[in-house]
């Protein structure tokens, strides 16, 4: 029959009986079990084996070794990290770009979502949404190629600045290391800000319109309504996004870095991810690259826990996770 009889498991029945019953059920559900089995096998191979593979961070793994034959070296790989100047340069760049993205990139989608929500012309609203979601679907390679063209000396960016009289001579800012953090941040915002409004708009569409009616009767202007009704209703989702952003501070966009980094701006463009990529894939130092990656993931988990604690406090002791 459709559903097997599941007896309430009571501690009184002997272990052997329960095991037998489990296998009897299991056999009866063999069709369902064979459907879930490929997924379990997939997870073991493609998720859990690499997690086990993290142990090479504590080994001295070379190309000729197998995972088990490589000798254990304890925390040696992690000790090297402390004195690795290039790694710390990458940390500074990662954090610099992440904080710019957090400071600007986090607020813009919220403002944009509120502005879109406040538009009452349906057609115009649809138009703005259609346009602003579009860049999200471009790959970073495509956008990187576009940016290289826009910023070239004969490109769009220089031409606009020349027309506006802001510069007198065109220059390629992608070759200027001091501008790289801003390029990485602003291009990311250009690509993702519109997409970031979707979740906020979904939440706002659920706000009870009678709140606004009541506020209007009380004489509240539009800005006042946004401040006192729209924003408080978005507090949980904003907190959730903030937690996720903070825990991702040490993460960076590898695709973006690989396409925008060049020999001129490398000192400011190298981030942790691209450093791991370079150490591991280009230089073949698998153990060290894994140690760096693992160390950064552990710091990220710690950040996630702290951010959750802080926002829980701010949200009247309710966790949004």
């Amino acid at each position: 029959m459709a559903k097997p009889i599941v007896l309430p498991s009571s501690g009184k029945r002997p272990m052997g009986e329960r095991v037998k019953e489990f296998f009897a059920d299991f056999w009866r559900q063999r069709e369902l079990q064979t459907m879930v089995l490929p997924g379990i096998i997939f997870m073991i191979i493609f998720c859990y084996i690499p997690i086990y593979g993290l142990t090479i961070a504590f080994k001295n793994y070379t190309v000729i070794d197998t995972l088990s034959s490589a000798p254990w070296v304890g925390f040696d790989n992690f000790k090297i990290i402390w004195s690795d100047k290039y790694f710390w340069d990458a940390v500074v760049n990662t954090l610099g770009i992440s904080f710019l993205k957090l400071g600007i990139g986090f607020v813009i989608p919220i403002i944009l979502a509120i502005m879109i929500y406040e538009v009452s012309l349906t057609r115009f609203k649809k138009f703005v949404q259609t346009i602003s979601y579009m860049p999200h679907f471009l790959s970073w390679i495509v956008l990187g190629g576009m940016l290289i063209n826009w910023f070239s000396t004969t490109g769009l960016f220089n031409q606009i600045l020349l027309d506006l009289g802001l510069i007198s001579k065109p220059s390629n800012i992608l070759l200027d290391p001091s501008k790289y953090w801003w390029i990485a941040t602003l291009s990311d915002i250009w690509k993702e800000a519109g997409w970031g409004t979707i979740l906020y708009l979904a939440i706002m569409s659920k706000i009870d319109p009678t709140f606004y009616e009541a506020a209007k009767i009380d004489g509240a202007g539009r800005l006042r309504q946004i401040w006192n009704i729209t924003l408080p209703n978005m507090k949980p989702i904003i907190s959730l996004n903030l937690i996720l952003t903070v825990s991702g501070l040490f993460g960076s966009n590898l695709d973006q870095t690989l396409v925008l980094m060049n020999t001129q701006n490398r000192e400011k463009a190298e981030v942790i991810n691209s450093y791991v990529y370079r150490m591991g894939m280009t230089q073949g130092d698998f153990s060290y690259a894994t140690a760096v990656g693992l160390g950064v993931s552990i710091v990220s988990v710690i950040l996630l826990v702290i951010a959750n604690k802080v926002t829980t406090k701010l949200n009247d002791n309710q966790s949004v996770l």
Partner: protein, 294 residues
């Protein structure tokens, strides 16, 4: 209940005007650069060398596209992109739906363990190097299957489908089973047809991911015959970057590579642009389940 603010007081009208003006600027900031890329890709080498146009080219020409299509490797890359995207999407959606169907049954023995195993994969991963070593030991380096097999499963998508399957009325399943249908039959004949919106959403997002994916190639593929469009474009970009950096090429060579680069960008993006209306319909009506509405 729509707040018809147009007819509102002066304050409200100023607010609206300001709001619409800013949003218009935002739209222009997104559209003008994209327009500029299209126009530039259709420009002659001479116009590109001179540069300095925003909305309209000084001289139109199809030479960039001709140059790109003359190279047979672009067709090869296009073929790889299309086949990895179609095959990848079909297998991914089917695989996730199958697992999601089984997991949607509360009475499934061992379900708790399976779910915990799945949730862990959402938060932890081995990262770049251990995954690379796994792929290498599985013999997937320089194999087309590296695009398909590691991308088969995502627990996130399993959860979305599982929740969707839960909303299918039990009565349908029960009556089918009384008529003697097995789990596979119920899954294929009842659940899959009823879950098309959810599956289409996942298929579209996965498809965009597959089409845009470049790291898989960068990490695991060195055989040029297996390069998809994204990697091809990356190569073109890197080439022209080094050329202009070393300043070895004459102005003419540099601009042809620039034109080729622009045309490759447009060709690589075109399928996404063509799919965009469909995408938009599904990420609004499917993903948010009608949450984004006016």
């Amino acid at each position: 209940m729509n707040r018809k603010a147009i007819k509102g007081d002066l304050d409200s009208r100023i607010f609206n005007a300001f709001n619409i003006a800013v949003l218009l600027i935002v739209s222009l900031v997104i559209m003008i650069p994209l327009w500029n890329v299209i126009i530039s890709s259709l420009s002659s080498g001479r116009a590109l060398a001179e540069g300095g146009f925003i909305f309209w080219s000084k001289e139109f020409s199809l030479e960039n596209y001709r140059a790109v299509f003359r190279d047979s490797s672009i067709w090869q890359a296009f073929f790889i992109s299309v086949s990895k995207t179609t095959l990848g999407v079909i297998t991914h959606v089917f695989f996730c739906a199958m697992v999601g169907y089984a997991l949607s049954k509360k009475h499934l023995r061992g379900r708790k363990l399976y779910v915990v195993m799945g949730v862990i994969t959402m938060f932890f991963s081995g990262g770049m190097i251990p995954t690379y070593l796994l792929i290498k030991s599985l013999g997937l380096l320089n194999s087309f299957w590296v695009y398909i097999i590691p991308a088969l499963f995502s627990y996130y998508d399993v959860v979305i489908l599982m929740n969707f399957f839960r909303n299918v009325p039990d009565a349908l399943e029960e009556s089918a089973k009384i008529d003697g249908a097995g789990e596979w039959r119920v899954f294929l004949k009842i659940f899959i047809p009823l879950s098309m919106p959810a599956m289409a959403t996942i298929a579209l997002f996965n498809g965009v991911g597959q089409w845009n994916d470049f790291m898989t190639t960068k990490l695991y593929i060195t055989d040029q015959a297996l390069y998809p469009l994204q990697m091809k474009l990356y190569e073109v970009i890197v080439q022209s970057q080094t050329q202009s950096m070393q300043n070895i090429g004459s102005v003419m060579i540099e601009t042809t590579t620039k034109g080729v680069q622009l045309a490759t960008i447009v060709i690589t993006t075109l399928p996404i642009v063509l799919m965009y209306p469909l995408l938009q319909r599904y990420f609004i009506s499917g993903m948010m389940l009608g949450a984004v509405k006016e």
